[in-house]
């Protein structure tokens, strides 16, 4: 396989010019993955990768994923929070890659909170 070069990214941009312009993070659903030391040790990177994978595969245009630091709740790591536009901010605990995929399908896409994994709601 021919190796990808960064030049090819330009083509992606040109192709998607119109939606690149609409790429401001406001007005998008937000997912935050907590990346403290315990989070990473508990598998937060794999959780984050599963989230990115779902976004990529399902072509979710309206979601932004960011990372945040530790919030001092080591025993519940990996932790992620999900906030849909206009909805509450929901903190999920012990988010394995499998749970993350479920949260995307059920909460992010269908708007139904996955209650059994919720740690708190704001």
């Amino acid at each position: 396989m021919k190796k990808l070069t960064l030049e090819e990214l330009k083509k992606i941009k040109e192709k998607a010019q119109s939606d690149l312009q609409a790429r401001s993070p406001e007005g998008k659903d937000k997912i935050v993955v907590h990346m403290g030391t315990c989070g990473i040790a508990a598998g937060a990177r794999e959780t984050l990768l599963a989230i990115l994978d779902e976004i990529e595969k399902r072509n979710l245009q309206n979601v932004v994923v960011t990372q945040a630091g530790c919030i001092g709740l080591c025993e519940y790591e990996p932790l992620i929070s999900v906030q849909k536009v206009g909805g509450p901010k929901v903190l999920y605990k012990h988010v394995t890659p499998e749970k993350a995929r479920k949260i995307i399908a059920q909460h992010v896409i269908n708007g139904q909170i996955v209650t059994e994994d919720v740690l708190s709601t704001e």
Partner: protein, 179 residues
């Protein structure tokens, strides 16, 4: 942590937590030894904290979450005969340099370095990362500024197509240099 690439992710998270805007990461690995260098322009670590940052008894306290990862990493590499050096100036930034044998029996494998870089780059568009990785098999370099300029200065490159591209780009280009 099972992989050095997870330690690396954690160390870089410290820089981010310290408010760094530019983070330079260099890995130089040959048959005998590996040198890892992380330079950031974050707020720096005060001297008294720096003095015992590698000590797990002072850094695992709940009140000091940043640093726990440094002591874990320090423990791993000193067990392999490696060493860790941190220079920091409050208000200027921090430089971490670590040198350790590349193939010590107790050294965790690098694991998926591409995943660590990918995870960092796509979720922190506000930070300029510059990764330089060199092994006997070749070298690889990526900077977020390059990506941004290819995207026309776009600052929020969170888009399914863009993240897909970055992921394959990293896997293909980093795969060949064997780390």
């Amino acid at each position: 942590m099972k992989e050095l690439s997870l330690h690396l992710l954690d160390l870089i998270e410290n820089s981010i937590e310290a408010g760094a805007k530019n983070i330079f990461i260099e890995i130089n690995k040959n048959k005998e030894k590996t040198v890892l260098r992380i330079v950031d322009d974050g707020k720096g670590i005060p001297e008294d904290v720096l003095r015992d940052i590698t000590n797990p008894f002072t850094t695992t306290r709940r009140t000091r979450k940043v640093g726990l990862g440094i002591s874990l990493f320090n423990e791993v590499i000193t067990n392999c005969g490696g060493k860790l050096n941190i220079k920091s100036k409050v208000g200027e930034g921090t430089e971490l340099i670590s040198e350790f044998p590349s193939n010590h029996i107790d050294l965790p494998p690098w694991g998926n370095l591409a995943d660590t870089i990918y995870a960092l780059i796509v979720t922190h568009p506000e930070i300029n990362f510059n990764f330089k990785i060199k092994t006997e098999k070749g070298s690889f370099e990526i900077s977020t500024e390059d990506i941004k300029s290819k995207l026309g200065g776009d600052n929020s490159f969170f888009d399914p197509e863009v993240i897909r591209f970055i992921k394959s780009y990293l896997n293909q280009n980093l795969g060949g240099i064997g780390i």
